[in-house]
């Protein structure tokens, strides 16, 4: 399963100065115990990503990736990947993702993900989320 969120479509966190929550689990407040959320802020020099999570439930790995010109990796079945384009533009399959756009991948099958920098170089932030109980991480619980 894949989600593409265009930059202006992200959910308002209620305070514009602190950015917008682009994905969270649970997706609806109060549905179940809070697990994680990802905030994106439009800052000078590109978009900034802030991940908050409940460490008892969730393990998070964050990395900045310079795509020059291609990045390819395997998303394992239990992982949820969230990618924010920090600067410039990338292509993923049929999608062109610009700075501030977000892509989320989750699901029961491992997926090989390939990202191409449209102009040869792009900067992204990749957040890899796993659950400590070994179950698959979801963005819509």
């Amino acid at each position: 399963m894949q989600l593409v969120l265009r930059q202006p479509a992200a959910r308002d966190s209620g305070d514009e100065s602190t950015g917008v929550v682009v994905a969270a689990s649970p997706d609806t407040f109060g549905r179940e115990q809070w697990q994680w959320d990802v905030l994106v802020t439009d800052a000078l020099g590109g978009f900034e990503v802030t991940v908050a999570h409940n460490p008892e439930l969730i393990h998070v790995v964050e990395e900045r990736i310079d795509i020059a010109p291609t990045y390819e990796a395997m998303r394992e079945a239990e992982e949820l990947w969230l990618l924010v384009v920090v600067e410039r533009e990338i292509a993923h399959g049929q999608f062109r993702l610009e700075a501030g756009d977000v892509a989320v991948w989750e699901g029961e099958d491992p997926i090989r993900i390939r990202l191409d920098a449209v102009d040869g170089l792009a900067f992204v932030r990749l957040v890899r989320i796993t659950r400590r109980d070994g179950k698959a991480a979801r963005w819509v619980p």
Binding site: M1, Q2, L3, V4, L5, R6, P8, A9, R11, D12, D27, T28, G30, R31, F95, E106, G107, R138, W139, V140, P141
Partner: protein, 334 residues
Amino acid sequence: MYILNAWYVAAWSSEVTREPARRVICEIPVVLYRTEGGEAVALEDRCPHRGYPLSPGRLVGDNIECGYHGFTFDGSGTCVRVPAQDIIPKQAFVRSFPIVEKDGWVWLWTGQKELADVSKVPDTHWMSDPAWVTVTHSIPFACRAELIHDNLLDLTHESFIHTSTVGDDYIYKHGITVEVDGDVVSADRLMPGVVAPPLYARTMATEGLYDGFHCTVFYPPGYLLLHSGITAQGRPREEGYLIKVMNGITPIDAHNSWYYYAFSRNFGTDQHWATEELITGLATVLEEDKAALEWQEIGLQSRPYDVRDSLIAQDAGVAKARKVMERLLAAEKQ
């Protein structure tokens, strides 16, 4: 609570005649009629005199006369005649609504007139394009409009509700890509190496395996466009047998909706038997959806307020559409 600054399908063009027709849209009663010159008119269906609906009245030229005491209104809602006296009271006017007729549908703007932007009436050109053949239906559903949005954004229900027509287990076995761009939400599913849906297989004259696809695009609050079809394995979608399903979902009130449906295809366009078969088959599909969603409405009305849906990943389009609707509704309240 409704999003009112929006275009909703109010009727088929063919339903707007010299006989006044009543509709209720977002709890607003509306009377629709056509002037002698053929122009469609939409007025609030309530005479300011004593609240009697105008729709049971009669047309006098381009004006509509209330059937109770004869107050008469022109197409702008201005009262032009009070039979019992010469003076027309200042408050004797009815609200008029911006409307647009396009491709067989009459779109009505329920919000502030000055915000009505004609360029935002959705694209439905397939309904009038001679290269496509269109089958239409319109059905009142005894359910809230959001349930129809959900139904169209999560097509895994086809595997269970529409088993004899468009359903197959392969639908829920494939994941979706959800895209949120501004207020527009799409849910796209590619199903490689599958057979054609039973309802279309004969018309498509196909055998063997194809790549099936469907992509629902939600233009909130009242229109969903479904791009669907099959194409040879590994080939681009535009080369295949294509279907465009235009869904105008218009709230009547909190528990009832109008479903305006147009199904356009670019294959077997000269086969009248195929069109007849689709008229019947698609009516079955809609009746199956109607029955299911009306049951769901009953279920929701008796559900405790604090119990929420248990959404799954396949509901990502549904979840995102709900958020967009919440955001639009909140923005309109400000």
